[in-house]
């Protein structure tokens, strides 16, 4: 089997698993909804209005925590025996690329759900919605590419849950800063050309992270 075929096969397998055990996906969606609702209630009873900058930051923090929780399980849920079975069948590159692709897909779904619920409950001050949605999708892909490798590292250690956050947050920060800047531009309705620098940087960070994951994962997976 060549690499592309292996990746297709593995992504299809992950999708099938997700659809069979729906509780995980439903759990994540409920997680977003309840987080949004908690934020809404906390703001409503303290002050009432949410400032646009707070709106933006809050949205990205919700997305960040959703991403950590959704992606953390991508290697933990694979039992030791099943991983061992993969080693005999496919190349390590196929495993990491398929996980990144699958998580990106998952994050796309979750971001869209998150954005709709968030806009519905808290409101939506965004002026340039196309750019904002594009940015949210880019963010989902970015989160998945960084956190997939981190979750592979964290799953090897004893206290995976805490490690996932402390290893992942500093690494994700440059990306998060770029995302927040672009979505601020989208909220203010600035022309697309104002965001080119940030979009290019975001794409570059993504490419670095995916390349590094591709190169490093083979060293990680047999331990």
């Amino acid at each position: 089997m060549n690499l592309i075929q292996e990746i297709k096969f593995l992504v299809a397998k992950d999708l099938l698993l997700e659809l069979r055990q729906r509780y995980a996906l439903h759990g994540m969606m409920l997680y977003i909804v309840s987080t949004v609702f908690v934020c809404y209630m906390s703001f409503r009873f303290s002050n009432g209005e949410i400032h646009p900058i707070t709106w933006n930051t809050l949205f990205w923090i919700i997305m960040l925590f959703t991403a950590v929780n959704a992606i953390a399980k991508s290697f933990v849920q694979e039992g030791k025996g099943r991983l061992l079975y993969y080693y005999t069948l496919v190349s390590p590159q196929a495993v990491i690329v398929s996980k990144i692709l699958y998580n990106a897909l998952l994050m796309l779904v979750l971001s869209i759900v998150g954005l709709s619920v968030y806009s519905l409950i808290i409101g939506n001050p965004v002026q340039d919605m196309t750019l904002f949605v594009l940015n949210v999708l880019l963010g989902g892909i970015g989160f998945s590419s960084s956190f997939t490798m981190i979750s592979a590292i964290a799953s090897k250690a004893n206290n995976g849950g805490t490690l996932m956050a402390i290893l992942g947050f500093p690494v994700i920060l440059p990306m998060l800063i770029m995302l927040i800047k672009i979505s601020k531009n989208a909220m203010d309705g600035l022309a697309l050309s104002n965001s080119y620098d940030e979009l290019i940087t975001l794409a570059a960070i993504n490419m670095i992270v995916v390349t590094i994951s591709y190169l490093l994962f083979p060293y990680l997976w047999r331990t």
Binding site: P170, V171, I177, T201, I205, I208, I212, S213, Y219
Partner: protein, 223 residues
């Protein structure tokens, strides 16, 4: 003695830095005033930290190519020394910021936050290391994280501040130090200071690597 010339050079450079740094002539500038002497201490700390982390990453790569435990010890101890210099850099920077920008922690400055975050990354590296019992597994997985985190840190410290506004010279449209206040008198002290501090870092790391190696050999003998 021939082997230790660099230690003599290090001590010489540092004495020269301290004496020349406090007594030498510096340009009289508004706001900066005498605090400009901090240039000999604050800036070399960051150079030294970057060098330490780079060495640490190089040894992590060497470990992945050829898993010898001495490479792992070098990678860990250089990262430790880098953390030490990073903390010193933040402290000297905070004192400097208090006198020139008016506050210990200036929230508008991405470079400051970037530096703090890169420290968080390496502190997470230390937590990751301590969460493994098996030595080989610890060495391998922390080497993978080391390389991954280093490549995420580079855009953080070197690219992002240049894209965004920063109060540091040379960022966000501010002119670099060279163009307006690093005159020849200061250069005479600054370059030896950089060499001296980097050599001091190498020396500290070298001593720590040696003690760790002895400890490890003793454990192996006892076992």
């Amino acid at each position: 003695m021939k082997k230790h010339w660099w230690k003599v050079l290090c001590v010489g450079c540092l004495f020269y830095t301290i004496i020349g740094g406090f007594l030498g002539t510096v340009p009289r500038l508004d706001i900066l005033n005498e605090t400009i002497r901090n240039l000999y201490f604050h800036v070399p700390m960051w150079f030294c930290m970057t060098v330490m982390f780079t060495v640490s990453m190089v040894y992590a790569i060497k470990y992945l190519n050829n898993p010898l435990s001495k490479y792992d010890i070098v990678a860990a101890e250089f990262a430790n020394t880098g953390i030490l210099f990073g903390i010193l850099g933040i402290i000297t920077g905070m004192i400097w910021a208090k006198f020139t920008w008016g506050d210990y922690w200036v929230k508008e400055d991405y470079k400051l936050n970037g530096a703090a975050i890169s420290l968080l990354i390496y502190l997470a590296y230390m937590v990751l290391r301590s969460s493994f019992d098996d030595e080989q597994q610890r060495a391998k997985i922390s080497a993978v994280y080391n390389i991954f985190a280093f490549s995420a840190m580079i855009p953080l410290i070197f690219i992002l501040p240049r894209l965004t506004d920063s109060l540091h010279p040379g960022n966000g449209g501010n002119p670099g130090f060279n163009s307006y206040d690093l005159d020849n008198n200061m250069r005479m002290v600054f370059y030896p200071a950089v060499i001296g501090w980097i050599l001091l870092g190498v020396w500290i790391a070298n001593l720590r690597v040696r003690t760790r190696t002895i400890e490890e050999n003793q454990e192996n003998l006892n076992a």
